[in-house]
């Protein structure tokens, strides 16, 4: 069980900071003490590198070492960080509640998306309780041209911007329904922009039908999409359209949450001294 790094562990990023974060994630998953050597095997990083990183984390109080000097565990500062992170996230909490309610109403899995780096990013997701479902977890990404919310994001862009983005990316085909012809896509986007909602009719995953809207933002483009996703076994375009009102209602609620969270007044007094 030596260091077969080549394929066993691509767990790192490409800048020191990102590598550090990746390391933190590995550490976060550890329930018990861990050692330098263990980390070397798990991450594939060279020993001195890892040693330095752990040392930094230790002197920051993020980690602590046992008396024997070779076992690390999470430090109090790290815990505090995690607690603070979760404690101050009412925006997410409120959005999540809306999402849950929507799932309850329509009986299918739903998710909140954003445009990030030219791709659609899943921010949050609530699964339906129905047994048959697709598994797509928060944090994963999907191309814009073959997702319902992606097309909405595209539709609200300035034409030049959109063209620039689409030029960069090849319109990869995932299913026989994927729109790979630029003109067909442009026409679809135009229609989507007019309607205010968009479908993804098995354009990304076979058997998956989605309908999406944006959380309306009167002051400009929106970066919050809301989508229903379900297997075609249970869903058709027509049935999806019946869910549209509920979807739009939820989108409006999320927009309200976003609007409120924009008030810039710092209430950061918590961490004063």
């Amino acid at each position: 069980m030596t260091t077969n790094r080549s394929e066993m562990s691509r767990l790192e990023g490409d800048t020191p900071a990102q590598r550090l974060l990746a390391l933190l994630e590995v550490i976060a998953g550890k329930d018990q003490f861990f050692t330098l050597q263990g980390m070397v095997e798990e991450t594939g990083l060279p020993k001195p590198t890892l040693h330095r990183m752990l040392q930094q984390l230790e002197t920051s109080g993020m980690l602590q070492r046992e008396a024997d000097g070779r076992h690390y565990s999470k430090g109090s500062r790290l815990r505090r960080l995690a607690e603070s992170l979760l404690l101050n996230d009412t925006v997410h909490g409120a959005r999540h509640a809306v999402l849950r309610k929507l799932v309850d109403d329509v009986g299918e899995s739903c998710n909140i998306t954003a445009l990030s780096g030219g791709e659609v990013l899943y921010l949050d997701r609530v699964e339906t309780s129905a047994p048959l479902r697709f598994y797509l977890h928060p944090g994963s990404r999907v191309p814009v041209h073959c997702s319902a919310s992606g097309k909405l994001f595209l539709a609200q862009m300035a034409p030049a911007q959109r063209r620039r983005l689409l030029n960069e990316m090849s319109l990869e085909s995932f299913t026989h329904n994927t729109l790979v012809d630029p003109e067909a896509l442009e026409a679809e986007i135009e229609a989507v922009g007019r309607q205010g909602y968009a479908f993804d009719d098995e354009e990304f995953l076979p058997g998956l039908l989605c309908i999406a809207v944006l959380a309306p933002n009167p002051d400009g483009p929106s970066n919050t999409g809301l989508a229903i996703q379900s297997p075609i076994m249970r869903m058709t375009r027509d049935k999806a359209l019946e869910c549209l009102p509920a979807l739009q209602r939820a989108a409006e609620q999320i927009a309200a949450i976003n609007r409120e969270a924009l008030s810039d007044v710092a209430q950061a007094a918590a961490g004063e001294r």
Copy 2:
């Protein structure tokens, strides 16, 4: 009052990695969207530096930006990190020992909880040996409005925060005791805040009575709840109140551990062996 960094913000470290961590801590405390400029003022770091850092966090999926491009918020990866951190920090430590001792003292199942995404997350749990008991495992979640520790978390929030959370969250009714009326809940929360402890009197599960306190945190709000849960067969409010001193003592010990008071840790660990 521009960047008077010299004394206003010593919030940074002396190596890039440590500065990044410090930045994360500032971000963790933000409950709403924040901007580059805001961070500049708060941390005293130069704008380009901060810009680069935020950019890295964004491309890592730790943060994300709104459509206007100037408002950041916490990303799903960051949330996952925080949850993973807390969820996997239970078994080995002295906290577990404290929990076990408490269960021993009061004879009922106890658990440690945290707020996450507007819900109460069970971090750790020790079961009583009594044959009749409820089954609730670590990692599961419960709504805030009908759990003892949830009400405590709500009580320590800033009013705006609480409102944001409760507004969108339908106060689902689980039993005839669940507080579904916003005003009744608000009154209860006010009382809970005053008392420093909270009941859940069959508000979530029929037949289940809980009493909870928070692990006190002098520097701000706490994200660690400690609760006793027992079937009403064996428990009443009055009997629960008799356990309150033991509960508070345990909470104080856990706070001490969180604070990294090694002497107490040693003590707690001693009772463990």
